[in-house]
Amino acid sequence: MSELAIERQIDRSHMTISDEVAIQINNMNKWYGQFHVLRDINLTVQRGERIVICGPSGSGKSTLIRCINRLEEHQSGDIIVDGTELTSDLKNIDKIRSEVGMCFQHFNLFPHLTILENCTLAPIWVRKVPRKEAEDIAMHYLEKVKIPDQAHKYPGMLSGGQQQRVAIARSLCMKPRIMLFDEPTSALDPEMIKEVLDTMIELAEEGMTMLCVTHEMGFAQAVANRVIFMDQGQIIEQNEPHAFFNDPQSDRTKLFLSQILGH
């Protein structure tokens, strides 16, 4: 992995973590047919925590965070998000999805809608916000991610970095309490990675609960208060960033870190 992309000094003082639980996962297992993709996952996330999940490709990182908003269904164990248990009850799923925002590797903006319409779609149809108000909210967040002047363009006219920032703004318009990121910078050209990471750092500074799958170790060191290492569907190791990078416990973690950091 490249140098630390983060130049700015991060002030962690007001990134407070409350003792309120945001996400609780107990003994969760998931299979794809015969394939046991997640094994006995136990994870508690406090409100305000910033967690980075890393691990080799195919280790189940995406599957884990996609279980949290039910894009994937787990087969055993419990997932409790903000006090609501994730079952096949549609009401619970709706409630959790409107409280959990998600950004994808390939942005997944709606190409047939303008940037502004991308941002107002869910507030209007899910939260039943009047259009004018939804547009004001959207412009507020588009200003936050520094692209208000692109509001009336279509996603295809924007660069990758801009698209990912729009995707973040689109999620924020639903005023989520938790944000999930699945490799948000992996599809970006190097010069665009920083603008997206800066946006995510700002979000962290405002106290957002975040779960990020990423290989940006600079971001992990700057923002995360916990780094989780996954391999073959299991959580192998978790620690605060300084200890995680300087004193990894398991051999698999050491191997992984030497592969992505060392040369």
Partner: protein
């Protein structure tokens, strides 16, 4: 001319016409145009020369002569004393009838089976696959003949409905009789109907008169008016949603706006259904749908529907899974996701090939000849040509008709496509 100034030193050399990309395409176009014009001129000159040698000339006068043949399936009054021109009109209307019905049914079948083939249910998706592969991999002509054969061979004849203990009985509370001569269904009638208006062109087209039911016109106008009001209601609902965030429930208002005026109108006109009844050896009253029409309609729809199913499936698949996931992650329910995110994107992929399928269906309807359905190919392009010996004129006219019809369909669909596009892009 400006291009010449790019190479001031060398000037223009003849070899540039072939080797210079700037001139090459023009050269090719000029040569192709000259060749095509020459070929057409040669063809036309030869044809005219051969026709004169045979003592024939190119004329459309035969259209005004007495046809002398009967047509069993007709939407307007016709008998063998009418002109060939009128026979052509009967055929044209029959082509339009089966093509119109076919496009509607094929689209319905295509959408249903296209979506079913995407189903996660193994049996359902397999069944849809069997339908698609079965119909699109066997020639249409075979399907037309097979369906026609099944309809005529496996159904009772009208006389089986007679007597104390009839062998066959009518279906749907004695409203429908399915026989080997076709289906007899109830016919819409009006006790205090407004009658017909006769449309009678003048001059050489005098024999192309036809009647249009005033009742039908009034009903259609009412329907259009209702739809305009519905549109107004929906615009207002959108305004309310924009202002307050909550979209008022409009479906029952819309239903009322469409149903109530039509119901009142039908009541005023004294609408009733005339049931088909057995009289003598056959059914009288009701509407007679001939097996040739039914078989052609079904075969065209099932065959084209299989292609449309693939187009629909492809269109939905073309919208990446990430779009659904992003919509779900934002909290949109599956039906809203389909309507607001997937369909607007899928329609853009679906409509252009759908136009081709409508054109195919329309032109394939000329296979009607195989089972004796009297479309324009069978009347003007068939019997008329045989009787008058005017092959060239007849086939040219039929070809011209299909050309104009196809152009009309694709113009209409392209207009629709542009509207869909404009709204979304």
């Amino acid at each position: 001319m400006t291009t010449l100034t790019d190479t001031p030193k060398q000037g223009f050399r003849l070899s540039q016409l072939i080797y210079d990309t700037r001139y090459r395409s023009i050269t090719i176009q000029v040569i192709a145009t000259v060749l095509i014009v020459a070929a057409l001129w040669w063809l036309a000159r030869n044809t005219v020369a051969n026709l004169t040698a045979l003592g024939k000339d190119f004329t459309l006068e035969f259209l005004g002569n007495r046809s002398g043949y009967d047509i069993n399936q007709r939407l307007i009054a016709y008998d063998s004393n009418a002109t060939h021109g009128r026979a052509a009109l009967v055929g044209i209307l029959n082509t339009l009838l089966v093509a119109g019905l076919g496009c509607v049914l094929a689209t319905i079948l295509g959408v249903i089976f296209g979506v079913l083939r995407l189903s996660k249910n193994w049996i359902v998706s397999r069944l849809a696959a069997v339908y698609v592969e079965g119909f699109r991999n066997v020639p249409l002509l075979l399907w037309i003949i097979a369906i026609f054969a099944v309809m005529t061979e496996s159904t009772p004849s009208p006389k089986d409905f007679r007597g104390e203990n009839p062998v066959a009985s009518m279906a749907l509370a004695d409203n429908v009789a399915i026989t080997n001569r076709g289906a007899y269904i109830p016919e819409p009638l009006f006790a205090n109907g407004l009658g017909d208006v006769e449309i009678k062109p003048g001059g050489i087209f005098a024999d192309l008169y036809f009647n249009v039911s005033i009742d039908l016109i009034v009903i259609l106008l009412t329907l259009v008016a209702s739809l305009l009001v519905v549109k107004l209601v929906n615009t207002r609902a959108a305004d309310i949603q924009n202002a307050t965030g909550v979209r008022p429930t409009t479906w029952w208002v819309n239903l009322l706006i469409i149903v109530a005026p039509i119901a009142a109108l039908l009541w005023g006109l004294g609408f009733y259904l005339g049931k088909p009844e057995l009289s003598g050896f056959n059914f009288a009253g009701g509407t007679h749908l001939r097996n040739s029409l039914l078989a052609l309609w079904l075969a065209l729809s099932l065959y084209t529907g299989a292609f449309i199913a693939e187009i629909v499936r492809g269109g939905i698949n073309a919208v990446s899974k990430g779009q659904t996931e992003a919509a779900f992650a934002l909290g949109l329910r599956p039906n809203r996701t389909m309507r607001l995110v997937i369909l607007p994107q899928a329609l853009r992929v679906i409509i252009p090939p759908l136009i081709s399928q409508f054109l195919n269906l329309t032109k394939n309807s000329s296979l009607a000849i195989a089972i004796g359905y009297m479309d324009v190919r069978s009347t003007l392009g068939g019997i008329t040509v045989n009787q008058t010996g005017r092959e060239l004129e007849g086939i040219l006219l039929v070809g011209l008709f299909y050309l104009l019809l196809s152009l009309a369909i694709s113009t209409g669909m392209n207009w629709f496509n542009d509207r869909v596009k404009l709204k979304e892009r």
